[in-house]
Symmetry: C2
Subunit: 592 residues, 2 copies
């Protein structure tokens, strides 16, 4: 076995004082499930201890789950968090796991009157890491840097810490940081080198976005060098409403070499041996020293080096969408999902994601043809069901549509939207009758320009691909089919769903291209506007046709009210609608 890092060949009985065996517990907590999360932690520590871990590092806020939004400010929730971390300490000891040093993130209430000055209500808590050993909490590190941009509102919820903490245990000095502390220059990490700590332990709740793993890797390499310490970065995994955490826990040497890296989108206990630097100064300056007495694990079975393979963008993105849906369903007590399967590419991709998240038997698809539905739409929907074995039924909407038209005589857009709303009402009724979670199948391009019917195709409790532009919907569909082929399986998505021109089929011969620019062009413009906040002038100056730019931006601005009522779905881009891009509806500002 190749082991670049550990200087000694460890056997399964020899206890080495020169290394620490560290476990990064990449686990999946649930917001508010204190007893469940304590169990998650205990199981992780048990697993790690069996592999000889001396230290187990758990993610940021693993005890309350993350992000818990305004629950953080509720006194009863803070008390429950305090009780749960104490429970964890007590139970670890009673499970004969007390000898393991455990560092776990939790919500720590405070009486800090400074909270008020910071604009946070009195009693506002801290984002803390508890240092647990032999049934006791020996101290805390409190997060210094509170992100308050993008999807984060931590100035609203937490009081910042200002103390650097070094834990001395098993012959090694270990500094602690939490997530954003790592991202800000001049933060606590810049003070680690002076302490002489050989290891920097970083607890994270860092949501996935595309290509973020590459950014993270560079960051941790930079910080490890800056701290002159090996760096262990543990991140949670799992879906929480509109965020999905990807794990991607990693260990880096002080010189920036990757020595271990865990999976994305899966729970994993990543084990690694870290050489302890000789402790030169019994006292350390500029940090609070917490000394732990004990000898760690006595059994050290051999461990394999683990560095996950890099995956390509679509593999990673697809996994994010699958996990996000899977966790929304499971954590909210649903058993199955339901959606309209039109034969088009969006609902086909949602079907594939649902199957991979839950299994085909938990997936219920409904073909809802109207008089404008093409034969290929109906047959493509049926074919997808046949290929995958999902539950499938057909409910023609003509009788319901006719009943409204007879009474109300809707025409034009009102008639088009009516069809979508009859479909929405049908799906919601089946959901009420049978108990499935309804999924909205819209993509980010549609959501941007408002090319959807509110209370029609926009109904649902969750919207798995709302942050995926149309070009990537096609890309993911092709990728998923290719993957099946490589595995010798039948590709789930009918080829025709991928190749045909997209259409809402709400009037005869309608095509998306009647109302919208080509999706390649549309998505390129939307990327500049929505994700990079560029002005119309700047986008036009990049060479995009000005008429198309102006129309796209106007449509996007005017659709804010629809987005406000759209179901939640996972952020995967660098700027997602909803939690991340927050705009007024009443807004006369127009870029053009």
């Amino acid at each position: 076995m190749l082991r670049k890092f550990a200087p000694l060949a460890l056997t399964n009985t020899l206890k080495s004082v020169e290394t620490i065996r560290l476990a990064l517990a990449q686990v999946n907590p649930t917001v508010g499930d204190f007893s469940g999360n304590v169990d998650v932690c205990i199981n992780a520590v048990k697993n790690a201890a069996q592999k000889g871990a001396d230290v187990v590092l758990l993610p940021e806020m693993v005890i309350p789950g993350y992000p818990m939004d305004d629950l953080a400010l509720r006194p009863s929730f803070q008390e429950a968090s305090a009780k749960a971390i104490q429970d964890l300490a007590t139970k670890l000891a009673s499970h004969n796991l007390g000898h393991v040093l455990v560092i776990a993130g939790y919500l720590r209430g405070t009486d800090n009157a400074d909270a008020v000055k910071l604009g946070v209500p009195r009693g506002a808590p801290m984002n803390s890491a508890a240092i647990i050993h032999e049934g006791k909490i020996h101290g805390h590190y409190n997060k210094h840097h509170l992100p308050n941009y993008g999807v984060f509102d931590e100035f609203r919820h937490f009081v910042p810490g200002d103390e650097l903490v070094v834990v001395r245990a098993f012959g090694s000095d270990m500094a602690i940081a939490i997530c954003e502390d790592l991202w800000q220059d001049g933060g606590p990490v810049s003070r680690v080198k002076a302490t002489g700590a050989s290891l920097l332990l970083v607890l994270n709740g860092s949501p996935y976005e595309r290509n973020k793993d590459d950014v993270r890797l560079k960051l941790v390499q930079k910080r490890a060098k800056e701290a002159n310490a090996a760096l262990a970065y543990v991140n949670m995994v799992g879906g929480q409403d509109d965020l999905v955490f990807d794990g991607d826990s990693v260990v880096i040497t002080a010189s920036g070499e990757v020595v271990a890296r865990a999976a994305q989108f899966e729970e994993e206990i990543l084990i690694v041996d870290i050489p302890a630097r000789k402790i030169s100064n019994p006292q350390i300056s500029g940090a609070k020293l917490i000394e732990i007495t004990g000898s760690g694990s006595s059994e050290k079975p051999e461990i394999a080096k683990r560095i996950r393979k890099q995956t390509d963008d679509y593999a990673e993105l697809y996994s994010a969408l699958v996990l996000s849906l899977k966790d929304y369903v499971a954590k909210n007590g649903f058993k199955s999902v339901l959606f309209g399967l039109s034969g088009g590419i969006d609902s086909a991709l949602v079907a594939a994601i649902s199957i991979d998240a839950l299994g085909a038997d938990k997936v219920f698809a409904v073909s809802l043809p109207s008089e404008y539905s093409s034969e290929h739409s109906k047959s493509d929907a049926k074919e997808m069901a046949d290929r995958t074995g999902i539950n499938f039924r057909t409910v023609p909407i003509a009788p319901m549509v006719k009943s409204y038209l007879d009474e109300l005589g809707f025409t034009g857009l009102a008639e088009e939207n009516l069809q979508a709303r009859v479909r929405g009402t049908t799906l919601m009724g089946i959901s009420n009758q049978e108990g499935h979670l309804v999924l909205a199948t819209g993509n980010k391009s549609e959501l941007s320009v408002g090319y959807s019917t509110i209370y029609g195709d926009a109904v649902g409790g969750f919207a798995p691909i709302k942050d995926v532009p149309k070009v990537d919907v096609w890309g993911l569909a092709k990728w998923r089919n290719e993957k099946a082929k490589l595995e010798g399986k039948n590709p789930p998505i009918p080829e025709d769903s991928i190749t045909k021109a997209p259409s809402a089929e709400l009037r005869p011969g309608q095509k998306d291209s009647d109302s919208l620019p080509d999706y390649e062009l549309l998505d390129a413009i939307l990327l500049q506007y929505v994700e990079f906040d560029r002005s119309s002038e700047e986008i036009i100056a990049m060479g995009f046709p000005s008429e198309v730019v102006i129309k796209t931006l106007q449509l996007t601005d005017r659709a804010e009210y629809k987005r406000r009522q759209y179901p939640p779905g996972p952020k995967v881009s660098i700027k997602a609608f909803g939690r991340e891009r927050r705009l007024p509806m009443t807004n006369k500002w127009r870029e053009s």
Copy 2:
């Protein structure tokens, strides 16, 4: 005319150097409407100048409108704001209004690299007041305290200022503060006394909530004494999505006496004469001094003392709801509203509010009876229409409901919700056909416990009473009818709509009381839970029946997903759902 404050009897020609004539311009800007907002400011200054004002104080962020959320971070929006404030200065001079000292709030871009450290992106702007005289911007005051709680996210958007500013003009020293600066102890106001300024000018964007005017009055009295200065507090007026600004501008002497107070919920130019304290120190310490040369207005017509009468709670609340709806409609380019008029109290109150906001001819109500609708429901709806002259039609939903049931055989809850969704689809169709804004008529009690059908009665672009508990829906209805009687008019709301037991009428003989506790009890529990964040233990300890408390809290927790997709509506309570109470949907935390 009694004038307690002005030491000199002013005539319409005598220019007194011992007083400054101050105008508080309580105006109604629109987010993003830079040219419109500049015009609003110019008109206010023109009006004030005609009344001899030397100084015109405009609200916080009057130029871009407020709150503009993430528009604040868009470079093109910041540039537009900078251009607009310069336009205002130039145009005031060209309208022969340059002699008036104008202080106006705007969004001021900055290159401050510290922004990044503060967790705000580089280029983040400041919440500023520009000091304008004779066509030029002479300086700025930048807000120190950025609220980041409740409905506010100012740490996300702005870089704080740290400089105290005193403007010396017309023989008087005037300090400046912006909104939250007044609410925080130890802020810039605490440093005003040392400057010797005789006047503290405070620009505000302070949203209405019930009883806040009383809180504000005590606050400004306290701060005036602390600053040893007269205090002029100007607040904007108008609706902006889920906030409504109430004005309530006020002027207080250094000893805490109210000398002028403007209306709530109406634009007003409040004029008052303020005695100038003799400037003792040519240099002032602890503040930036901005000296303005000029003599102010030469014509000083006599002005009447103006202190608005206190109104009762329901009068104030009703006005808030009316203005909020009126502005949402107008600022978003709608001409009319549409909603289902059931004969019940909620839709009756929404009808009354709509009539008062827009006029009966702009109000379109639809009776949507089902087979379970009682005769009194149909007749009460009709009677309301007859009393008020709103546009009224009846669309029985039986044919549409039957068309679904024939195809899909829904029963139980699915059948109940179907009726609500057929109504929703009908209203949205009429809206698409005719162009009205659809209103959701649900109240806060229903929204709390999830007693509504998503995509059914919850459809709409705006929800006028979503933050009003059921007991206050009745209270407002009675108040509105009483008001009509006092004015010798026909009360708009049928007595029977007020007195009968509430029912959703989705199954035979259904009453709200079958599923929910008595509304008096329900609302009292919800107040403790939703608004005061009390735990189930605490609420039970207050004497509420534990079973009802536990059931109410459970229902409330489980309905978060419905609230997430509910239309926006005005915050009027101390904690509104949506912008103010931010909770995860995926959340296993239960109080009980």
